[in-house]
């Protein structure tokens, strides 16, 4: 199993990052990386353990401090009709556990969606409004997952970078925006997107399968969510409703266990799309990192 993450910012290494589209004068790129071996996070790596290629050109990464690219977890919860009853209780419990597990210096926010997308709690260090809002959530209505994800990707979350954790248990049936709009927003965003999918089949083994392949029976919506997660450096966490709490804690653990690599791009000074490759040298490991970034023309 692998997990998270990547990012790059077209700015100096210190100070609040965050314009969602990278400027043309890219001075530094930051990529956050989650490394696992047989599902267990790998810690203690140094910059020399990583190999980073930007559009196929080797770069010289260094390890950046967590403060350089602070994360703002944004919970994006599907509260459509299929969540009525015990399923909503499981989701609430998972949300509470996630909020309780946040570090004291991590702000967090909450969006809910059914047919309507609602910003319930703007980023805050205060846990009380998050808990209270989770307790007040009701289930009902259709599912506009794409609209919700677009809003989360494009909303300005303040200093730091959004770590979007989207929960859904169904197909999208009412979004106004389409898959193209969402995927473009993901490519141009600095956000990291993890998707917790109740009822989904277990993730395929990345060592033996192509992540671009659709899973049997996978809906177009889930395929898109998988693509968005992969593009931004996140992943899809399949689980049962009863397993939601555990899944959310695993997502949180992955957010806390990431490496942040920084480099000044060498030999790739061009606007537009840049493909990224990150590997761990000389040892078996699965690496989850953003697969591309975008420099504005």
């Amino acid at each position: 199993m692998t997990v998270l993450a990547a990012l790059l910012l077209g700015l100096a290494p210190v100070g609040p990052p965050a314009p969602p589209v990278f400027g043309s004068a890219t001075e530094a790129v930051y990529v956050d990386v989650f490394v696992t071996c047989h599902g267990v996070p790998v810690t203690g790596l140094s910059a020399a353990d990583f190999e980073v290629k930007d559009d196929g050109v080797f770069q010289e990464p260094r390890l950046a401090g967590q403060e350089t690219v602070r994360l703002t977890p944004v919970l994006v919860f599907d509260t459509s009709g299929s969540l009525e009853g015990r399923n909503l209780e499981h989701l609430r419990a998972a949300g509470h556990a996630f909020v309780d597990g946040l570090r004291s210096d991590e702000p967090a926010a909450l969006i809910t969606f059914s047919h309507e997308v609602v910003l319930r709690v703007a980023p805050t260090f205060d846990r009380r409004p998050l808990h209270e809002s989770l307790d007040r959530v009701k289930a009902g209505g259709s599912t506009a997952a794409l609209d919700a994800l677009y809003a989360a990707l494009r909303h300005r979350w303040g200093a730091g970078r959004a770590a979007i954790v989207l929960f859904t248990d169904g197909d999208d049936d009412l979004s106004w925006l389409d898959a193209g709009a969402v995927l473009a927003a993901a490519r141009q965003s600095t956000a990291l997107v993890d998707v917790v999918a109740a009822g989904e089949a277990p993730e395929a083994d990345p060592a033996t399968s192509d992540p671009a392949l659709p899973r049997p029976g996978e809906s177009a919506c889930m395929k898109l969510l998988r693509d968005v997660a992969r593009t931004t450096g996140g992943t899809v966490w399949p689980c049962s409703y009863a397993g939601l709490r555990r899944a959310f804690l695993e997502v949180l653990g992955s957010l806390h266990a990431r490496y942040v690599l920084g480099y000044e791009p060498q030999g790739v000074a061009h606007p537009g799309r840049h493909r990224l490759e990150v590997k761990v040298k000389g040892r078996p490991a699965e690496v989850q990192a953003r697969t591309e970034y975008w420099v504005e023309r």
Partner: protein
């Protein structure tokens, strides 16, 4: 002449002998204060009892014998039992009670009063099914209604909206190129799904066109016709049709949706400035609607107007609880007239109970 005098017949003999309650008693309780209780009882009847009951009522009506209450009341009793059954089983219940109601509505006479009742029953119940995404049941009801009322433009629009709903479902995932062997099963399956959706949209377009031929002033038909034309790739025709919608007398809903749909056509057609203008008009028409603001934010993003996009997006997702929540016509548009189901069925219950 009232419905009760039109359809009233008594069943006391046959059903009372078989069951503790006569149909007359059931209808009296249904019409009186015990509606919920009697609906619940009827919903629990076993299959055999329901069909014996259907046969007996059919026999009585054909023999012009008294039922002990209006036939329309029998229709609504079983309709409510069906709705209760569906609600309890989360929409996957059997068709038993609905089929019984449907069998009875076929017996309702074709005079003006009866026809009006039957027509609204088909429309209301089909819209209910459509609201549950059950296109098969909705289509079946509407096709039956169309056979009975072939010149009814509103039924045509309802039928078209079911086809439009199916044709507008998210497309299936295309098979990845690495495994998509030309002519292989993955490619053929994907092509068939895409073709099916287009065929549904073409059927919807045909229904709306027929409805407009019958009733050129039917704004809902024109609005939906425009939307379907856009989905079929006929952007210019769609814009022209939307222009005609806006030239006529339009309410807030139609004005909002017409501008929203026009913005989408313009955006898809590579005319982003005009799309932004259309979305702005949609937001002006219905300032509290969400889809219009999301569309505008996305279009502004495309124009690199990031400050404006951020502000509009924030407005789109900020709750407006003080005024009791949003009501965006886009949220109900895919479901045809499902938002009218409550008022249609309430009207039928009142009418049947008179």
């Amino acid at each position: 002449m009232g419905l009760s005098s039109l359809y009233a017949v008594c069943l006391v003999g046959a059903v009372a002998a078989e069951t503790p309650l006569s149909l007359a008693d059931l209808l009296e309780r249904y019409r009186g204060g015990g509606r919920e209780e009697v609906v619940s009882e009827v919903a629990a009847w076993p299959r055999e009892r329901v069909w014996k009951h259907v046969e007996r009522v059919q026999g009585r009506v054909q023999g012009k014998q008294d039922l002990g209450g209006p036939l329309t009341l029998v229709v609504m009793l079983h309709t409510d039992a069906a709705l209760l059954d569906r609600a309890r089983r989360r929409a996957f219940g059997s068709d038993l009670q609905m089929e019984a109601a449907r069998a009875f509505v076929r017996l309702v006479p074709a005079d003006p009063v009866g026809a009006s009742f039957a027509r609204r029953w088909y429309l209301g119940v089909a819209s209910y099914e459509q609201g549950l995404w059950d296109a098969g049941r909705a289509r079946s009801l509407l096709e039956e209604a169309r056979r009975r009322f072939p010149q009814d433009a509103e039924l045509l629009v309802a039928l078209g909206s079911v086809d439009e709903m199916e044709g507008s479902l998210p497309p299936p995932s295309p098979p990845p190129p690495a495994v998509a062997r030309p002519g292989g099963i993955l490619v053929r399956s994907y092509d068939a799904s895409a073709r099916d959706r287009r065929e549904e949209l073409m059927k919807a377009e045909e229904s709306y066109r027929q409805a407009l031929a019958l009733e050129p002033g039917l704004g809902e038909a024109r609005l939906r016709h425009a939307r379907v034309l856009a989905r079929l790739g006929e952007g210019a025709e769609s814009l022209a049709e939307l222009g005609r919608v806006l030239e006529g007398p339009v309410d807030e809903r139609a004005r909002y949706l017409a501008h929203l749909f026009a913005g989408h056509v313009l955006e898809e057609g590579g005319r982003p400035e005009e799309a932004v203008a259309a979305y702005r008009r949609a937001v002006e028409a219905a300032p509290r609607c969400q889809a219009g603001r999301l569309a505008l934010a996305h279009a502004l993003d495309g124009l690199r107007s990031q400050e404006g996009a951020a502000l509009v997006l924030l407005q789109a997702i900020t709750p407006d609880d003080a005024e009791g929540g949003r009501r965006d016509p886009w949220w109900t548009y895919p479901f045809g007239q499902a938002d009218r189901v409550g008022s249609i069925l309430d009207g039928l219950r009142r009418e049947a109970g008179q």
